[in-house]
Each structure stands twice: as structure tokens, then as C-alpha cells.
């Protein structure tokens, strides 16, 4: 008997927008000799001291569940770290949860605050998962477009204009994927005023905080009046080069965290025990290595910005993360056309900007988390491609 699966499957899930990245991945993965600027993760392997601790933890038999929120010892270290780096204090007992990647923190945040029909503002271009996670939590994502003329920074007026009586929260990501844009203290303060005026919750995704290059980094949670309405999301993936470990964390007022722990105990129980042990080592003893990686990205960012501008792809200088987001508008191609022709003609993989929201149309995301030789090769091929369009 053949089944008509459509009628059994979740309509909400079916209606989620397919990821624009997935499509590209399939194409690029089938080709040989591709130089990829499409990778959204560090090119460093996790520092050895952290890997070694994971091995020790397995040898020592740390294979059981932990507390739902994570090992208290790790939460204590996270508390120290967040205090030290971002100057905000969270109580390890009841204000921090260790999650399976920052991804899961984002999911938990939406599940904990969204009621059916609540609107969540998302500043675009944005990381691919936010809008879908809002929908899965029963909410309505509302996008606010940002543009290169303004360095992809959202303004208080734009936020003001997007707010309705259904607006519950706003998601801010700084440094941003895909634009690399960093919001400084003054900009955050201006945004915070609107958020407070309209009594919104702010979910701040600061997963790239360690990779900020120019003015240092300010956390939204440290802006006066924001602490009590902010869900701060961070993790180990980017700054510590630990993407495959799937470890992230969130911190928030204890009333919110209590509810999130309740959800978390049903969905996941806890993050992997042996990896949590290694994460303690990451926070205690990796400052120099994180610094070394940051400096290396900073140099490559400088290279990429100049190299792209040299071949006529204008880009603003991204303050953080490991992405540059140049405009390809003058070629007359759409983002997808540009990316797929570039891949076919020159075997360089980039991600079309519209994968990150409508306002990403006309741009491409180039990740520079790859060796300088690969970057040079990619630029040579891209230059040839651009010339071929003339």
C-alpha cells in the first residue's frame, strides 16, 4: 500500500522555507577542485588542550547525564567568563544553561517566550535558522532589512517602524552572520532605548563575540536597562573552534531560565557530559589560542576586503566574524545566478546573499576561514569570472 505522506506530516514543518545553503551545498559537494569560501566555521581544529581534556573525561568515565542546565562547575566557569569578557554577572545556580550548540539556545529562547501569534523582529540579512525557529515556536517572524549604505546596521527608526502591538521580542546578532557587522556601544544603546520603550525582550546572539576586530566588543546585556530583558546567547563553536562539539550556552534572568530548564529537561536532558568537562578547560586555559585565532582572522579579513574591492566587488569593512558580504549588483546578475555561475565556471563556492533574507539579494557571502593560499586562489578565479562578464 502506498501512503500519501503529505497528509501525515506536519504542515508547519512542510511550509518552512528550504535552506538556500543546502541547495548550494549539494551542487558544490558534487564537484572536484572547488575552492570554498562557503564554509561558516573555523578552519582551525579545536586547540589540543581541549581535545585532550575530552579524551581524559572519557577515560575517567564521565559518561553519565549531568544536571539539566549542565555541570555546575562549567556554569561557574561560564559565569566567570561572561563577567570577565562582557562585564555582566549571571548566577551559575539559576541563570545559565549549557545547550547543544548555540542553535539550541536560540530554539529554547523562542520556545520560552513566544505565544501563538507573537511577533519576533529579526534583523536581516540573518543567520538562516531564526525565522524557522520562531515559526516552530508558534510565532510570526517579522524581518527588518538592513542595507550596505548603512553598513548593514539596524537603526532605532527601523525597529520603531516594525513594531506592532503583537511584537514580543527582537533578535539581534552581533557580530553578524553573514555581514560581519558589529554594533558598537553607542549603537546598541540607541537600539536599547526603543526596546525598553516598547517593553520588548531582546535575544542577542553573540556567538562571534570573540571574533571582533576593531573597537572591541560590547554585549547587549551590559547596556543599562537591558539585563532584565535580555537573553544572551553564546557558545564555543566559533571563538574556540568547536563547531562539531555542539556546545553553546545561554544566560538570562532566572525567571526565564527556570522555564527554559523545564523545556530542556523534556527535549534534551543535558549536553554531553564528557564534552562539558572539556569545555571547562576551554574557558580556563585557551585565552592565548583564542587570541591567536582572532589575529589570524583579522589579517585575512584585511586581505579579503582589499582583494574584493580590487576586483570591483565593493564591500564595507566587517567588524567581526569571518565573513565579508560584497555587493555583486553591478554585474546585473542575481545572487543565485552569480554564485552558481561562479561555481560552474571557476569552481569557487560562495553563498548567495538571499539565503540570509531578501535584503541579502545583490550580495554574496564570502567566508575567509580558509588558508591565505586558498583565498589568493579564490580571488584569482573570481577576478577571471568577473572579467568574463564584461
Amino acid at each position: 500500500m502506498s501512503m500519501d505522506y503529505e497528509q501525515y506530516l506536519s504542515k508547519t514543518a512542510i511550509d518552512l522555507k528550504p535552506s538556500g545553503i543546502r541547495k548550494f551545498f549539494d551542487l558544490a559537494a558534487s564537484m572536484e577542485g572547488v575552492v570554498s569560501l562557503g564554509v561558516g566555521e573555523p578552519d582551525f581544529v579545536t586547540p589540543w588542550n581541549i581535545r585532550d581534556e575530552a579524551i581524559n573525561a572519557l577515560q575517567d568515565g564521565y559518561t553519565s547525564y549531568t544536571a539539566n542546565a549542565g555541570l555546575l562547575e562549567l556554569r561557574q566557569e561560564i559565569s566567570n567568563y561572561v563577567q570577565r569578557r562582557f562585564n555582566v554577572h549571571y548566577d551559575p545556580e539559576n541563570q545559565i544553561i549549557v545547550t547543544v550548540g548555540a542553535s539550541q539556545s536560540i530554539d529554547l529562547a523562542f520556545r520560552a517566550i513566544v505565544n501563538p501569534g507573537d511577533e519576533v523582529l529579526i534583523v536581516e540579512p540573518a543567520f538562516v535558522s531564526y525565522a524557522s525557529l520562531v515559526i516552530l515556536a508558534g510565532g510570526v517572524p517579522v524581518s527588518i532589512s538592513t542595507y550596505s549604505e548603512n553598513g548593514f546596521k539596524v537603526t532605532p527608526d527601523q525597529i520603531e517602524a516594525a513594531i506592532t502591538d503583537k511584537t514580543k521580542a527582537i533578535l539581534i546578532c552581533t557580530p553578524n552572520n553573514p555581514t560581519g557587522t558589529c554594533l558598537n556601544k553607542e549603537e546598541l544603546t540607541e537600539i536599547a532605548k526603543v526596546i525598553q520603550k516598547h517593553d520588548l525582550i531582546c535575544i542577542t546572539d553573540e556567538i562571534y563575540a570573540e571574533l571582533s576586530y576593531d573597537d572591541g566588543f560590547t554585549s547587549m546585556a551590559s547596556i543599562p536597562g537591558m539585563y532584565e530583558r535580555t537573553i544572551l546567547i553564546n557558545g564555543f563553536s566559533k571563538g574556540f573552534a568547536m563547531t562539531g562539539w555542539r556546545l553553546g550556552f545561554l544566560s538570562a534572568p532566572k525567571e526565564m531560565v527556570g522555564l527554559m530548564v523545564k523545556i530542556y529537561q523534556y527535549t534534551t536532558m543535558c549536553a554531553p557530559h564528557m564534552l562539558q568537562r572539556a569545555a571547562i578547560e576551554a574557558l580556563q586555559n585557551s585565552t592565548d589560542q583564542v587570541e591567536h585565532m582572532r589575529e589570524s582572522y583579522w589579517r585575512r579579513r584585511n586581505y579579503m576586503v582589499q582583494a574584493l574591492n580590487n576586483i570591483g566587488l565593493d564591500c564595507h569593512i566587517p567588524g567581526g566574524a569571518f565573513y565579508v558580504f560584497p555587493s555583486i549588483k553591478h554585474t546585473g546578475l542575481t545572487s543565485e545566478e552569480f554564485a552558481s555561475q561562479l561555481l560552474q565556471q571557476e569552481k569557487v563556492a560562495v553563498v548567495p546573499g538571499n539565503a540570509f533574507g531578501e535584503s541579502g539579494e545583490g550580495y554574496i557571502r564570502c567566508s575567509y576561514a580558509t588558508s591565505i593560499e586558498q583565498l589568493q586562489e579564490a580571488m584569482k578565479r573570481m577576478e577571471r569570472f568577473i572579467d568574463s562578464l564584461k
Binding site: F24, A28, A29, S36, G38, F127, N302, Y303
Partner: protein, 167 residues
């Protein structure tokens, strides 16, 4: 000697890979290429950059295999010149790779490279031990090289295990 940020950044790049073009270096550091070249020249002149060694694994090449020995040498220092003169008599031999003055139970650590065990042994007994003031030598033959000057010889951390496109 105190270095500028630009100088430190150039050293960081060169230490990782000394074949990066000066153009790419200039772009990474927002400097002019001319300035990069001048800075490197200055670092070389000041012997901050001592040389750009090429690490060759000769043992992979048929007929080119080598034997490496590390020799602990005890010496009686000479009046006036201490250990320096004895060290010089040793490091002048081209087959000697390195000579360090050490604290602890012996004085000079000498690394030697030869084609065969016999060749190395002969050098130790005929040349090294016969130098005046050398009291004793202990020779350790190297069996396997895992890491050299920060480079892991057989590691596979270098392979890119990431997927080609990720969010």
C-alpha cells in the same frame, strides 16, 4: 628590543608560512608592499629573523636516509673564554646541526647528522672526544621524529574535514 605591531604581525605571518608573498602580507596588514619589504629587511638585518629553514624529511627519500644523534658533552670550561671556544670548535664541523649550552648534568648538547651509524660514531670518537677539555660524551640516536620546530611530521590536523558549504 621592542618591536612595533606591524613588525610583530609580519613575524606572526612568516612564522606560519614564509612563502606568503609580500603583496599578500601588505594586504593582510594594511601596509604598503614597500613598507613590508623594508620591515622584513630590518628584521633580517637585526637577526630577529635568523633564517628561513626548509624542513626536509630525508628519510622518505631512497638513498638519502640519515641518522641523527643527540650527544651530551661534558667539558671543562677554559679560563677567560668559558665554554664559547669549545663550543666553536664543535659547531664549525658542517655535520653538526646544533650546539646548545645547557644547565644540568652536562654542558653542551650537540645534534649531529650522518649517513650511517658508523659515520656518526666515528665523528664522536675521532673528533668530538679528542677535543681538549671534553671530559665525556653520551650519544643518543634518534629513532623517530614526531615533531620538529613546531611542525608535526605525520599529523593529520591539517586535512580539512569540513563540508564545502555550511551556514
Amino acid at each position: 628590543m621592542k618591536l612595533s605591531n606591524d613588525e610583530l604581525n609580519i613575524l606572526a605571518i612568516l612564522e606560519e608560512n614564509h612563502r606568503v608573498s609580500t603583496e599578500a602580507m601588505a594586504m593582510q596588514l594594511n601596509m604598503t608592499e614597500d613598507n613590508v619589504q623594508k620591515t622584513i629587511k630590518k628584521l633580517e638585518d637585526n637577526k630577529i629573523i635568523v633564517s628561513y629553514p626548509t624542513l626536509i624529511d630525508w628519510n622518505q627519500i631512497e638513498g638519502k636516509e640519515t641518522v641523527v644523534a643527540m650527544i651530551d658533552v661534558k667539558v671543562t670550561p677554559q679560563r677567560g673564554v668559558g665554554f664559547d671556544e669549545i663550543a666553536e670548535r664543535i659547531y664549525r664541523y658542517p655535520e653538526v646541526n646544533s650546539v646548545y649550552l645547557m644547565s644540568g648534568t652536562y654542558d653542551l648538547s650537540v645534534t649531529l647528522e650522518g649517513k650511517t651509524l658508523q659515520e656518526v660514531s666515528k665523528f664522536v670518537s675521532n673528533k668530538l672526544s679528542t677535543i681538549d677539555n671534553v671530559i665525556s660524551t653520551t650519544t643518543h640516536f634518534m629513532l623517530k621524529r614526531y615533531k620538529h620546530d613546531g611542525v608535526i611530521i605525520e599529523g593529520n590536523d591539517e586535512d580539512d574535514k569540513r563540508m564545502v558549504v555550511t551556514p
